[in-house]
């Protein structure tokens, strides 16, 4: 995303104030927007997972793809926010870069990460029962709670992370002509 970076750093010759129409939304954090994005830029690398697949014994990129696709479906099912999905995947990747996870527990890690992402981002979110349900009751509550706690401890409670989502939102906004299809292409 080198191009993306260039757009963020070098505005066009005659920049359009892309937030001009935001005046009506009179409580937005406008005054801090520039600083906020500078802050995002600084923190982007902080909580990024390293390339970890080599170190996993049972899991490969294909399985990760399947799990992520499944999560996209699940997120749509529960009508969750896009930023929750990005955080969910960030949590999975950071955890997998630290811990060796057996194949049969990958889905458990996925739903526990989803639970954490939801608790962080959403106002109302699926409960543990719902999450055990969508994974065909393959795991029990005890397994869920202790894995969730382990993820939290291993990631040292760092869930305030900068995911690609915030940059995508900004870039889509900057692209003057806004259409839903391009937005969806960018997010998924």
């Amino acid at each position: 995303s080198k191009i993306a970076r260039r757009i963020l750093i070098e505005p066009e010759d005659q920049p359009v104030d892309m937030d001009a129409d935001d005046d009506t939304n009179n409580l937005s954090a406008d005054e801090y927007l520039d600083e906020l994005y500078n802050f995002y830029k600084l923190t982007e690398e902080e909580n990024r997972a390293s390339d970890y697949m080599e170190s996993q014994r049972e899991i490969n990129t294909k399985m990760r793809t399947i799990v992520v696709d499944w999560l996209v479906e699940v997120h749509r099912h529960f009508k969750l926010k896009t930023e929750t999905l990005f955080l969910n995947i960030n949590i999975i990747d950071r955890y997998l870069s630290l811990i060796n996870v057996p194949k049969k527990e990958l889905q458990l890690v996925a739903i526990c990460s989803m639970s954490l992402a939801c608790k962080y981002e959403e106002v109302s979110y699926p409960k543990v029962n719902d999450l055990l349900e969508i994974s065909d009751k393959f795991y029990n509550r005890r397994q869920f709670i202790s894995r969730e706690r382990d993820i939290v401890e291993k990631l040292q409670w760092n869930f305030t992370v900068t995911t690609p989502y915030v940059f995508l939102v900004r870039l889509i906004r900057a692209s003057i002509v806004q259409d839903k299809e391009m937005e969806n292409m960018a997010f998924y």
Partner: protein
């Protein structure tokens, strides 16, 4: 509880104590000495003799079946990102057995809250210390606001101070239990947290799309309280506090808070509208620059309210 403190019985339950001590032999609970502040316990690290504060987040019984509650996740996750001289530093989150549900946070230790100071017979001399106080408090807030965090519960209990030679040597904002990390585009947030006395009018009126300006309002109330030595607005519920706010600052008008005055039936109920009082008469001790800054922090319309960064540039706070 106070009595128990003086008897020298530890604040931790025996179960909690059993959880911590095997893994953290270094901790020594300071039992009867010193004040207990808020829900924190004073502890000492045996090895370094460093005094620290421990806070225990307990998962309510009815939430245990859902794992870690969102409130605790949010609280600790925000604390982990904070590192600023005017924000109480989280040293560590103790690692416990995976079966243990309580979360143990270890903070740096600062003596006393602003609330305690305001209650002493010799409270803070605002004329002398008002500027350094605001400068430090607003630096902490500016730091939070730049990285999209709203504290949402600022009050004198949550500002810790220590003094050296009658100067403020340390000022730390604390208690991020209901803090919120926001992301643009802003979505509606809860308005049910915090002490009503320090709540901004947009929250009391029920607007859910508020932003960092709510903290500036609270800080304005706190600053005013340091001068008056009693809370600026007193009351138990939203309507009572709003009435007090309007009595001092006048009812909002279409000019000073566009789009709101005409929409809120609560505001329209004030007929005829209340005229704002003269702040200079209310705060005779405060110099003109200080009055100007206070009035900008207590601006009814959140959009026109001064930001933490702007406030730090205000003539009153310029060195």
């Amino acid at each position: 509880m106070e009595e128990i403190v003086h008897l020298g019985i530890p604040f931790l339950t025996p179960d909690q104590w059993d959880v911590i001590t095997p893994a953290y032999k270094d901790f020594e609970l300071i039992r009867s000495e010193g004040p207990r502040f808020g829900d924190m316990f004073k502890c000492k690290l045996k090895s370094t003799k460093e005094v620290v504060a421990m806070k225990i987040l307990t998962i309510p019984e009815d939430q245990k079946s859902n794992g870690i509650p969102y409130s605790i996740l949010n609280h600790v996750s925000i604390l982990k990102t904070l590192n600023h001289p005017n924000i109480l530093k989280l040293h560590t989150v103790l690692r416990t057995d995976l079966d243990v549900e309580d979360v143990f946070l270890v903070f740096e230790y600062i003596d006393v809250s602003l609330k305690k100071f305001l209650a002493t017979p010799f409270p803070i001399d605002v004329i002398k210390l008002g500027k350094p106080f605001l400068r430090q408090a607003l630096s902490g807030l500016a730091y939070l606001h730049v990285q999209k965090i709203i504290h949402r519960n600022l009050k004198p209990n949550n500002i810790l101070l220590s003094f050296q030679n009658h100067e403020i040597s340390k000022l730390k904002l604390t208690d991020f239990g209901v803090a919120k990390s926001i992301e643009p585009p802003l979505s509606p947030y809860s308005i049910n947290m915090g002490n009503p006395c320090y709540k901004a009018p947009e929250l009391l009126l029920g607007f859910t799309n508020y932003s960092t300006a709510v903290d500036i309002w609270s800080m304005g109330c706190i600053f005013a309280e340091m001068i008056k030595l009693q809370p600026l607005f007193i009351g138990n519920d939203g309507p009572k506090i709003l009435t007090e706010i309007f009595c001092l600052l006048g009812t909002p008008t279409e000019e000073n808070w566009p789009g709101v005055a005409s929409l809120c039936s609560f505001i329209q109920a004030f007929d005829p509208p209340i005229k704002p009082k003269d702040l200079a008469a209310e705060f005779p001790k405060l110099e003109p620059d200080g009055l100007d800054l206070l009035s900008r922090m207590l601006c009814l319309c959140p959009n026109s309210r001064i930001s933490a960064v702007e406030a730090l540039e205000h003539p009153y706070l310029r060195p």
